[in-house]
């Protein structure tokens, strides 16, 4: 796959279709992959990589990249295409300046994920079909791909590309993902248990803004949390209230716009399951206002800027099943 992608990128660079290529570049280790812009065939040959660690969603970079001259080639995994569409819906970049190639994805893992299996001193990784062997200075260990997939990939919502100019490989289907199982589990808890769960999670937050800055739905010119005039600006969570506030408001601002790409949870240095906040909104929206997948199509009307006269009343929150 990587070879095909490089070959095609070179072709498009050469025939002048695009001026730059947005992809992933190799790092120090096998897993520390960085999004990068390539301008020459040599750079592509030298550094371009596509493997199980290329988790970064590149679509957000288009906001910045399309401000520049020329056309850019971007490689999009299925879930990235949803963000791509959502950004287009919100007029955040110029479609004319992008050439999008859809690429298949078997699910991604990460250095953190591998380390969470108790491994340290990682020196290399071999992918052999569904078997992934991790070499470390201490030992070698082989995993089934599913075992070390990131949570968002284990509950992948769709292998279908909803936007592209061309596709490399086969297109997949929208999947029945069980991605709301954990939300449902939390909903079934008592309020005290839920409070304890979220407090223990959110109290870890260091307000590094990684979740916000990586989020393709958070492309505001100026975030309310950075804007002293907003009245809720905060540079650090000085009180537990502010920890809650930041995450509630952020989830609310992206509600109906979040495509559930899972980047927020991936980048959180404290491994806070932030996607569970977004998924709660998605689940509620699906249940209360009908299924809606942000980014499934360009131009769709997000649930929070929409209504029907027959919408449920807010009191449903008191009467719903569960505790």
């Amino acid at each position: 796959m990587q070879g095909m992608m490089i070959a095609r990128a070179k072709e498009l660079l050469q025939n002048g279709t695009v001026n730059r290529v947005l992809g992933w570049q190799t790092g120090e280790f096998v897993y520390d992959i960085t999004p990068a812009v390539f301008e020459t065939a040599e750079e592509l040959d030298e550094k371009f990589v596509y493997n199980a660690f290329c988790g970064n969603n590149l679509s957000k970079y288009l906001v910045k990249e399309t401000k520049k001259d020329g056309k850019i080639l971007v490689f999009l995994k299925p879930c990235d295409t949803y963000s791509f569409n959502q950004l287009l819906t919100e007029h955040r970049f110029d479609r004319e300046k992008v050439y999008a190639i859809g690429i298949p994805c078997d699910g991604k893992t990460s250095g953190e994920m591998v380390k969470s299996k108790g491994l340290s001193g990682i020196t290399g990784i071999d992918e052999d079909g569904d078997n992934i062997t991790v070499h470390t200075i201490y030992e070698d260990k082989t995993f089934n791909r599913d075992e070390i997939l990131e949570e968002r990939c284990r509950t992948c919502k769709s292998k279908k590309h909803v936007a592209y100019d061309e596709l490399i490989g086969e297109d997949g289907e929208v999947l029945d993902s069980h991605r709301f199982d954990m939300v449902a589990k939390l909903e079934a808890m008592t309020p005290d248990e839920r409070f304890a769960f979220w407090r223990s999670q959110l109290s870890k937050c260091i307000r590094c803004n990684a979740c916000r800055n990586v989020c393709p739905a958070c492309t505001c010119e100026k975030c309310v949390f950075d804007n002293p005039a907003s009245g809720i600006a905060q540079k650090a969570a000085a009180d537990s209230f502010e920890e809650n506030m930041f995450h509630i408001i952020r989830a609310f601002h992206v509600a109906g716009r979040c495509t559930d790409c899972g980047e927020c949870s991936r980048v959180c240095p404290q491994n806070i399951p932030l996607h569970l906040l977004n998924r709660k909104f998605i689940k509620d929206i699906d249940e209360l206002y009908g299924d809606y997948q942000a980014g499934a199509e360009v131009g769709s009307r997000a649930p929070l800027v929409n209504y029907t006269a027959e919408d449920v009343e807010p009191s449903i929150v008191y009467h719903r099943e569960g505790k």
Binding site: H91, R92, T219, K222, A229, G231, A302, L304, A309
Partner: protein, 664 residues
């Protein structure tokens, strides 16, 4: 920091009996920013107002807080008072310590404490108030009426009568609309043409009224008082100013088999035609779908016979741009298509007709010259079955969920007319409910039953099946007799539901006027503003707003005209300054605000911005038209970056009030 004056009103004993006004003014005097605080018996009285004015002058107040009755009561009074001494009227806030404090609490200590808190909140808000200026916008003294049926005609004539220019845009070659097709009108049974055509003529003769027939609105820009509308005049291939309407061409044209839409396809017309004798404008139109000259370049007969030389095969569509101060929507209705109702056999049997078709069959100018004959064989029908609610009140998805309102009455009219003209005819009417509210309406229906012997049967028709011998078998239930009826009918008349014209939906988008799920235009308020759209400057006339009969349509048309006249006589519109505004530096151009704006007040512009790193960037940003914005604030919450804010109720002001209320 503002210099704030606080004025606590006793309202006689209304406030002072339960609130310690002295304590309130004393405590509030200590609030940051407050330079003067006092209390007085009646702040709204002349001497009370003078007290405020004097304090403004004496202390150089930049903000005023009045603790008194509800702002709904005297906010305007106090604003006027402070404005008279040069303070911006929007630098004033009212703390409601009467309706929301003294009148509902008995404990004086509690009430006083609450009054202080409410006063603090008002002070906190005033700290952040900014002077606001009510804007003005000029009004173009011309109105546009979209739709030339009875609703549009009536509205246009009323507006013209008041001395304003008014244009009617009608997509058909003639104005007149549905009413022109109707034979008689209920409950008086006078002839529709006799009362409609004089109005049509008046339209053509009144020099304030201009008719764009065979035309469509293609775009609407602007806002109340200042709309710019593009109107496409479709090519009719006949010069309107030359055609005399003699009709010679329409008898010589060799293309004879064009279905005549005016008679609902019950007979044929030529490729060049004048819809009906009293058409306005009475000008021929060539139907490009049938004209051999236009299709194949062969024929040209009409041009040869036209002595006026009006035929112009090279005519093109023409787009006219015109400015208007107000727009009236009068797009009317159509009966729904009945193909989904196979049980009534409408598409298979010619003798199953809709009520509107029946109008044409009974009209002296119709295909049968006014004699009621079966369309299939031209014989006289002896048994006629009317079916009510065909597609109305239907939630199964085949029809419309609403009551079409007019069917009960016109069916009674039809039944009555048939019984009168052809007493040997048996007439059955199957109904679910007979709904005849309205002046002389129920009496009319009862006459059909009692005087004319129409058989009204409570029940629905389940099946209509034509028989080989030409009879139509009607299977229906008679719920009161608890039996199933089988009637051998000669004709079946279906009271098809009515729906808004298909052109209404795209038009609503152009006008940013809201519609309900049935594509009827939404009124600004269902009870209090029934002829206005929530979008300022857009008015509603006739069935486009909801099912109506002719008298209701005409009254609504005149009401809409009155509203338009009221708008057009205004020299300048004063705009509410408490409107939304966009901080372009923060705007993402994401369109969230535009989507929730009920007034279409938000548009987007591409603007160049100088970035901190000294580069320039072209960005799409929202721009609020203050003349159109009504200040609801929906956009402010939809905006994730907080670029949208509302004058007079800004985020920071409301949060300051929250803070003040919650402290201590």
């Amino acid at each position: 920091m503002q210099k704030i004056g606080v004025f606590v009103c006793w309202c006689g004993s209304n406030i002072a009996a339960t609130v310690d006004v002295q304590a309130v003014s004393d405590t509030l005097a200590k609030e940051p920013g407050v330079v003067y605080a006092t209390n007085y018996q009646y702040m709204c009285s002349e001497s009370g107002q003078n007290l405020i004015k004097d304090a403004i002058k004496q202390y150089g107040l930049t903000g005023v807080v009045i603790c008194s009755c509800s702002p709904r009561m005297h906010e305007a009074t106090f604003r006027k008072a402070v404005a008279s001494v040069g303070l911006n009227p929007y630098m004033l806030e009212v703390a409601n310590i009467r309706e929301q404090c003294s009148w509902i609490h008995k404990d004086k200590a509690l009430a006083t404490e609450k009054a202080i808190t409410l006063g603090r909140a008002a002070i906190a808000k005033v700290q952040l108030n900014a002077p606001l200026q009510a804007g003005e916008s000029p009004v173009v003294k011309r109105a546009l009426v979209i739709g030339g049926g009875i609703a549009g005609i009536q509205t246009a004539l009323d507006i013209a009568e008041a001395g304003f220019e008014v244009d009617i845009v009608e997509k058909q070659p003639t104005i007149g609309g549905k009413m022109a097709q109707i034979d008689k009108t209920f409950p008086t049974l006078d002839c529709a043409a006799c009362i409609l055509t004089p109005k049509m003529v008046e339209c053509s003769q009144n020099d304030k009224v201009h008719i764009y027939s065979y035309s469509e609105v293609t775009s609407v820009k602007g806002f109340v008082g200042n709309f710019t509308v593009s109107i496409k005049k479709k090519a009719r291939y006949v010069a309107e100013n030359k055609c005399t309407g003699c009709g010679e061409c329409t008898t010589k044209c060799p293309m004879k088999n064009v279905p005549n839409e005016f008679n609902l396809g019950l007979d044929n017309r030529r490729a060049i035609y004048i819809p009906f004798a009293q058409a306005v404008p009475k000008v021929a139109t060539i139907d490009p779908n049938y004209c051999n000259m236009l299709k194949n370049g062969k024929c040209g007969l009409c041009a040869k016979v036209c002595t006026a030389g009006a035929i112009d095969y090279k005519q093109q569509d023409q787009v006219i741009e015109e400015r208007y101060g107000a727009i009236v929507v009068a797009t009317g209705y159509n009966p729904i298509k009945l193909d989904k109702f196979e049980e009534f056999d409408y598409s298979l049997s010619k003798d199953v007709v809709t009520s509107l078709e029946l109008e044409r069959l009974m009209n002296a100018a119709g295909p049968t010259g006014g004699t009621l004959l079966r369309p299939s064989d031209g014989t006289h029908p002896h048994t006629i079955v009317f079916v009510q609610c065909v597609g109305s009140r239907d939630t199964s998805g085949c029809g419309k969920p609403y009551c079409s309102k007019i069917c009960c009455m016109y069916t009674a009219k039809h039944a009555m007319l048939i019984r009168e003209k052809y007493p040997d005819t048996e007439v059955y009417v199957f109904y679910i409910d007979v709904r005849t509210p309205g002046k002389n309406f129920d009496e009319f229906y009862r006459r059909a039953v009692e005087q004319y012997g129409v058989h009204y049967i409570k029940g629905m028709v389940g099946k209509v099946a034509p028989r080989a011998d030409g009879k139509i078998m009607v299977q229906a239930s008679d719920l009161l007799a608890n039996e199933q009826l089988h009637i051998e009918a000669d004709m079946v008349v279906l009271a098809a539901a009515i729906e808004p014209d298909k052109s209404a939906r795209p038009l609503a988008t152009m006008l940013t006027a809201s519609m309900d799920t049935n594509d009827f235009f939404t009124e600004a308020h269902p009870k209090l503003r029934p002829v206005e759209s929530p979008t300022a400057g857009i008015f509603l006339s006739g069935v486009c707003q909801g099912p109506k009969d002719i008298p209701e349509t005409v009254s609504q048309a005149s009401a809409a005209a009155a509203k338009v006249i009221g708008l057009l006589v205004t020299a300048k519109l004063t705009t509410n300054p408490c409107v939304a505004h966009c901080n372009e530096l923060m705007c993402n151009g994401c369109s969230s605000c535009e989507r929730v704006c009920p007034y279409g007040a938000i548009t987007y512009v591409e603007k160049e911005f100088r970035m901190p790193d000294r580069t320039t960037q072209l960005r799409r940003v929202a721009s609020v038209n203050p003349a159109v914005c009504q200040g609801c604030g929906a956009c402010t919450v939809a905006c994730p970056s907080g670029a949208m804010d509302l004058n007079g109720f800004s985020n920071s002001q409301i949060m300051a009030e929250v803070d003040a209320i919650c402290q201590k």
